[in-house]
Symmetry: C2
Subunit: 328 residues, 2 copies
Amino acid sequence: MRESVAARGERTLLEEIRRLVPAAGPVLWGPGDDAALLARRRHPLLLTTDALVEGVHFRRGWLSPHALGRRAFAVNASDVAAMGGRPLAAVLAITAPSALPAVDLRAMVAGVRDAARAAGAALAGGNLARARELSLTVALLGEAPAGAIGRAGGRPGDRLFVTGALGAAALGLRTLRRGPSIAAGEAVRRWRHPVARLDVGAVLARRRLAAAMIDLSDGLLIDAERLCAASGVGAEVRLDRLPQARALAPLPPARARALALAGGEDYELLFAVRPARVAALGRAVRGLGCPVTAIGTLTRGRGVRLLDARGRPVRPPARAGFGHFGGR
Amino acid sequence: MRESVAARGERTLLEEIRRLVPAAGPVLWGPGDDAALLARRRHPLLLTTDALVEGVHFRRGWLSPHALGRRAFAVNASDVAAMGGRPLAAVLAITAPSALPAVDLRAMVAGVRDAARAAGAALAGGNLARARELSLTVALLGEAPAGAIGRAGGRPGDRLFVTGALGAAALGLRTLRRGPSIAAGEAVRRWRHPVARLDVGAVLARRRLAAAMIDLSDGLLIDAERLCAASGVGAEVRLDRLPQARALAPLPPARARALALAGGEDYELLFAVRPARVAALGRAVRGLGCPVTAIGTLTRGRGVRLLDARGRPVRPPARAGFGHFGGR
């Protein structure tokens, strides 16, 4: 009866919460998508929130206070990007221990402000409260002038694409956990400075190229499973086609592949495209400065199956992706 | 150089943050008002966020998980009420220790959902993260179809009004800190179940009755000073006219007055009305089921001066209101 959240497991909890809170009133898509879509006359609005908690998502020595603020904005902007939207305004709730240097607090706020400006949005307000743990919770309002892209629109036969290259952020995070390393400088930089793929997301929405989309926060494998579950489909992913970050090149191939597949925090976009739209996708993303790679296909059935270069099934790595309360 | 946030003081910090983040882009009023006002074609939007942190704003034994969720929504709805707006959609970020009972987590989410529904809004999404401390951070999107009411519109000569009765929530909080007491049951109930004055705020906005408005979260004295500072005016407040909650009746008069004046967490509305609009105010609030009391006048100069029944100056209580990092 009094089972803990840890014992219950994150996936179960989130499903229970989804059942508690069905979409209602002006909300078209409720909890369960990257951002909520609110019905408004012309421009649908998006609303999302994401928190960075000290000791869970970061330690203070891992990045500057300004980079922490930028990161708090970016992880939210990525949710808006995954809906094909653009950010309008953010609010920032900080909880801070009394001993936090005031100069660090100001730098965090400036980091959120600067990241918001760079994305064409504004930091509009916030809240400051005392706490034992430092945390930054951003809520981001966006709009989807061309209509929003959810997770549920995928169909069997759609091609699965991913932006950018995978695995560097996860390598950077592991490097920071173990202590500084010159060799992994590029990977650490990638973890410290995630970039929301707002331009790509907006183009995919405007030209109606993506049928379903999600951003990669918890690792390709977990997030692909989420997209599949929402769309009621399965997927085949070709491991040899995963775009691996250059920073992974020095690693043993199996380790590099595991990071690219399940590392998390890349904040790239994973999306499904109807076969007839693949050529148009190629033309649309040219000139955006962001590679887009075909990595597989949506199928009938359930779940994500991994294939090698010859199309043979491959078992997923034992511990894939990140969950806050275990239990996946 | 590395002065802590506690040493710097909350008021100084918030002023510094305000200078860091001026209103920009689509944001008309930035940090410093109850909610941010976003310029949109027809209906201006409001965006605000507020957090409840365990050990700072509440302890778990003080209220049920469901009431905690309702409270997390209500303190945000009060900010929207203070702008004369109505809530549209909320997102909820929870940080929770692993040992939190899953049933409590679900009850908190249901509390936010139910409070949102009761206010005509929807809980649209959220985020769940592990942390040592339990916290609920709500961000609330609202709209101000009749235009928003800020803090800065007060002028010398305006009459100052307050909704409801003051001091019960603060008495309830003090009672909970000391342990259960039957005598203060009504006060405890008031603390546990704050009600945002959405109906009154909306009427004041629709009929253009309030020139400036703020909600009472940190105590009348502090919040009146905020309204005065934003409007560039002073105020005279008649202590004998403060509407004291019935629950304060058994207390010594000086203690009751101090709670009504500086207790905090009442979530009533304080607003300024032009003298020519006072009669219209009386007609407008009739039938809303919420008393509205004239407590003073805005003046030239700065700061809030307290007067007794004969108009003689009274010194404010020594420790007035609540600040997270001291220093006022």
